[in-house]
């Protein structure tokens, strides 16, 4: 049964759970969530408080939006239902619970900012992996619930693939925890239900992540090419060769200029790779990489250019572009054609073009603009015109059915961006 309470009554009920100082209806606090416009925000301090808040909201017919670091591009409520809304912010759930240096795993609460988690791990000679610095402001929970396409490394895979187990609180207040094992054959991988669920199936409260030792040697390398097609062909060959760089990017002319700065000579296209690992292995990989990219027509740029790029790309101050880029997944065999159509469509506009998440199968093709006001939708429209399908997270019908089972009253809201 849904109880009916005034907004004040609801706030009082929630304050009983989290403590009055961890709930606010002050405009300055609620306005911080922009498009979400809740009447109150709650900051639970533990998984059991999260579960209790969710249960209370379900009982009271209150809709809940989950907020992590808020790094996600503009978020909207997908429905305009006339229900009181609160934001559950995971800010206070930022404890590191365990670092297992033998198995190389970390168990942490999901409200922790990736930057803080990484700093703590570095103090023990560990790291979450060679992911782009843009992720630093996101929370662990945000990255698992809404994995951005950029959270990828050819060496370690997708960031969320490093999630070995998690605990979740559901809308009815029940909680589950998936047990950690390197691999198992005991049914579906239940943790996967929640990865990418954008807050719609439950609140991820803790997660066990794989971590890595800080590499013995890190070697950034930059190659210039006369065109994007050749740079892509080189990168593709690299992926098939068994050399697995920690980072791998292919940049068009404008993007090369903005990421590399002055490279000493004009760069029509570039392939950037970072090799990391034991020195002896990195040296062999470097020789192979030189041969592969050389055969594809690349010329190695001076080492300081590569190092400067690497330092800049990992500095925590790195700011996302004014306009978020639009991207699409493209298989290698279709990339040549895709690049040609995109270039044709953008001949008169100085747009930035680059490829990342390169693997055995394909790459993400990105279109960005350094000019403010260039809407994401118009970039996405360009991709559509080029016959590509821009990323657009959407629940599959089956996931939607599962959502209705786990949260029949629709307490939790699947965010859209």
């Amino acid at each position: 049964m849904t109880e009916s309470l005034s907004l004040d009554g609801i706030a009082a009920r929630l304050a009983d759970i989290v403590g009055a100082s961890h709930l606010s209806s002050a405009p300055a606090d609620v306005d911080a969530y922009g498009g979400l416009s809740p009447f109150a925000v709650v900051w639970p301090g533990s998984p059991s408080e999260v579960a209790a808040v969710l249960k209370a909201c379900t009982d009271l017919g209150v809709a809940v939006g989950i907020a992590g670091g808020g790094a996600g591009v503009a978020h909207h409520w997908p429905l305009t239902a006339e229900r009181p809304r609160v934001v559950l912010d995971t800010l206070r759930m930022s404890n590191i619970l365990d670092v297992d240096e033998t198995s190389l795993t970390v168990l942490a609460q999901t409200g922790i900012q990736v930057r803080h988690l990484e700093e703590a791990l570095r103090r023990q000679g560990l790291t979450l992996g060679p992911y782009p610095a843009e992720l630093q402001l996101a929370t662990l929970g945000g990255l698992l619930a809404a994995p951005p396409a950029i959270a990828h490394s050819p060496q370690t895979g997708l960031f969320h693939d490093g999630c070995l187990g998690l605990s979740v609180a559901h809308a009815d207040g029940s909680s589950v925890q998936t047990r950690v094992a390197p691999r198992r054959a005991t049914g579906p991988d239940l943790a996967r239900v929640y990865l990418g669920s954008r807050g719609g199936l439950g609140v991820i409260t803790t997660a066990t992540m794989r971590v890595y030792r800080v590499p013995e040697l890190v070697q950034p390398i930059a190659f210039a090419f006369t065109g994007l097609e050749a740079a892509h062909a080189g990168a593709r060959e690299l992926c098939a060769s068994g050399v697995l760089p920690a980072r791998l990017r292919v940049l068009g002319e404008e993007q090369a200029l903005s990421e590399l700065g002055d490279a000493g000579a004009p760069v029509r296209a570039a392939c950037l790779a970072v090799l990391s690992g034991p020195g002896a292995l990195v040296h062999v990989q470097h020789r192979l990489l030189d041969a592969i990219l050389g055969r594809a027509g690349g010329m190695e740029l001076p080492q300081p250019v590569a190092y400067r790029w690497w330092e800049r790309s990992r500095s925590p101050g790195v700011q996302p572009d004014a306009t978020p880029p639009a991207g699409a997944r493209v298989r290698h065999s279709r990339l040549g054609e895709a690049l040609a159509s995109v270039r044709e469509l953008t001949r008169r506009r100085p747009l930035n073009l680059w490829l990342d998440e390169l693997d055995l199968h394909g790459a993400n093709l990105w279109l960005g603009s350094r000019r403010a006001g260039e809407g994401k939708r118009s970039l996405a429209a360009l991709l559509l015109d080029a016959g590509l399908e821009p990323f657009r997270p959407a629940f599959s019908p089956l996931m939607e059915e599962l959502r209705q089972k786990l949260d029949p009253r629709g307490t939790l809201v699947v965010m859209e961006s």
Binding site: L190, Y194, L195
Partner: protein, 522 residues
């Protein structure tokens, strides 16, 4: 055998199936029903030995050729609540493909086509009923490989691999089957044909993979494929103890090395793999020894001597005493543990990795044995026994328990399982699927009891004690054989409250509960 309430077939079932499939692809004949009455779950051999082979015969066996045919069969079953059990190669060792409630067994082996292979895009799409070696041959002809080599590659199918989360012998480099799958087509328990891909979020692929026919029938899969390796190198070592071997493996993997093969045999298993000599045994025990010898030869792919048989036979009938003795004697007798590693890929990369690995193993006190043992293992890697195990005929039984844990929990788990079951059975173990965060342990146990009833009790008790120890130490009850019927009772402890999420998935994908009922503890 776990028998859930048995479905009573309606007399019209056969004729209704005829509206979907031609007569030659439907059988209610007793020979077919007998053949499909059990998979390779070792416990079923105890029945076979007693001349009671029809443990769980299905009522009907069908051989569909398309997802549409399967969807039509599912809809028919749904109407009448007929249990429907997908069947690949029937090589599963947990009773997963057995029709424990009767109903229809749906053999997918006629759906065996290669639909697409692209070396440019590193992927290939196959129908799910293709036999493993056929799949690999077709890729090899195109210069490609899946990198998945279970010992059962000749008798298991792609669908069975995906359904039970299979692991191949080169898993450290290529991963398990769940690491290789990019997209699926499947028929749900409500008759819907769905396609899902790992590009979607949340990703349905890892939910259908591993569900052992309880959520959906997998009809095709798109897989990651690699160029055939240009070069392969083996090295073998003798390490002083299991703990030292594990330490060497862990350090190497955590430095970023990716051998294709990593195998570490514990003291007992190493002794068996190595020992030779003369020994005597008498009467029934001798037969048991000979049989066990054959079993082990099949497992290890090499000849073993009489000494081994002697030790094993004695251990089987007086498992407790001998285990204690072995505990004390083995360190002196065994000469340590055998470790085999293999690398494949680009030659200069292989060489660099071999050298780094070598240094790690020497660092834990290993002695270099050269490439011989590795090459010999590779040559015999599929030398598994397909005939009814002579060990059973001689009055004993054997089975394997493949579990996994993170490195920190691994050795305590190894010790606990051995302690838990070594008073009942002879136990050996090897570590053959290793990851940066942990490793699997493959226990082989052999025991003997008089008569069927006692054998059944002993068999179940060994599993119970073994898996309880695994759960207590924070490991998982299965790394790659799956759960099926044999481990269903342990699913609640394996998953805790998270099992409820699996049940919700079941309610969404198989609302009437017709897909492989009675399995997986649902």
């Amino acid at each position: 055998m776990p028998q859930t309430q048995r479905y009573r077939p309606s007399p019209a079932l056969g004729s209704e199936l005829l509206a979907i499939l031609p007569a030659e692809r439907i059988s209610q004949g007793s020979a077919d029903r007998l053949i499909y009455s059990r998979d390779m779950w070792p416990k079923t051999l105890l029945s076979v030995r007693d001349n009671k082979p029809s443990v769980c015969p299905p009522d009907v066996v069908v051989w569909p050729e398309s997802a549409e045919e399967i969807a039509a069969i599912v809809k028919l079953c749904r109407r009448d609540h007929v249990p429907l059990v997908p069947w690949g190669g029937g090589s599963g060792v947990c009773g997963g493909a057995m029709a424990t409630s009767g109903g229809i067994v749906l053999d997918l082996k006629r759906m065996n086509r290669l639909l697409l292979a692209s070396s440019d895009d590193g992927l290939a799409t196959f129908q799910a009923g293709v036999i493993g070696q056929t799949l690999e041959d077709q890729l090899n002809r195109r210069g490609l490989t899946l990198g998945h080599f279970p010992a059962s590659i000749y008798c298991s199918t792609l669908g069975g691999w995906l359904a039970a989360r299979s692991a191949g012998q080169l898993s450290s480099k290529y991963g398990k089957i769940e690491d290789m799958v990019l997209a699926l087509e499947a028929v749900l328990g409500d008759g819907r044909i769905v396609r899902c891909s790992s590009a979607e979020q949340p990703d349905l692929v890892p939910l259908i993979v591993g569900s052992e026919g309880t959520l959906a029938i997998i009809t095709e899969a798109t897989l990651r494929v690699h160029r055939l390796a240009a070069h392969r190198v083996f090295r073998a070592y003798e390490v002083p103890r299991v703990s030292a071997g594990c330490e060497g493996f862990r350090r190497a993997l955590q430095r970023g090395l990716r051998p294709a093969v990593m195998r570490l045999y514990d003291e007992t298993d190493s002794l068996l793999a190595r020992a030779s000599g003369q020994g005597r045994a008498a009467g029934g025990q001798r037969r048991l020894l000979a049989a066990l010898g054959e079993e082990l030869e099949a497992r290890h792919g090499e000849r073993i001597g009489d000494l081994k048989r002697l030790l094993l036979g004695a251990a089987l009938s007086r498992a407790g005493m001998l285990s204690r003795l072995a505990e004390r004697m083995l360190p002196r007798l065994s000469g340590g543990c055998l470790a085999i590693v293999g690398f494949e890929g680009e030659p200069s990369l292989c060489q660099a990795e071999v050298e780094l690995f070598h240094a790690e193993l020497l660092g834990v006190g290993a002695r270099d044995l050269g490439e011989g043992p590795g090459l010999s293992w590779y040559q015999h890697r599929y030398a598994v026994s397909y005939k009814q195990s002579p060990l059973y005929a001689a009055g004993g039984f054997a089975d394997t328990m493949e579990v996994a844990a993170t490195w920190e929990r691994l050795l305590p788990l190894y010790k606990s399982v051995r302690e838990a079951i070594s008073s009942l059975a002879m136990v050996l173990a090897h570590f053959s699927h290793a990851y940066p965060e942990g490793c699997s342990i493959y226990f082989t146990f052999a025991a003997a009891a008089e008569g069927r009833a006692k054998s059944d009790l002993l068999y179940d008790e060994i599993w119970r004690r073994g898996l309880q120890a695994v759960i207590k130490e924070g490991g998982t009850i299965s790394h790659h054989h799956g759960v099926g019927a044999s481990k269903a009772a342990y699913m609640a402890e394996e998953h805790g409250p998270a099992l409820a999420v699996y049940r919700q998935l079941k309610a969404v994908m198989d609302p009437d509960g017709i897909l492989n009922p009675g399995k997986m503890g649902l």
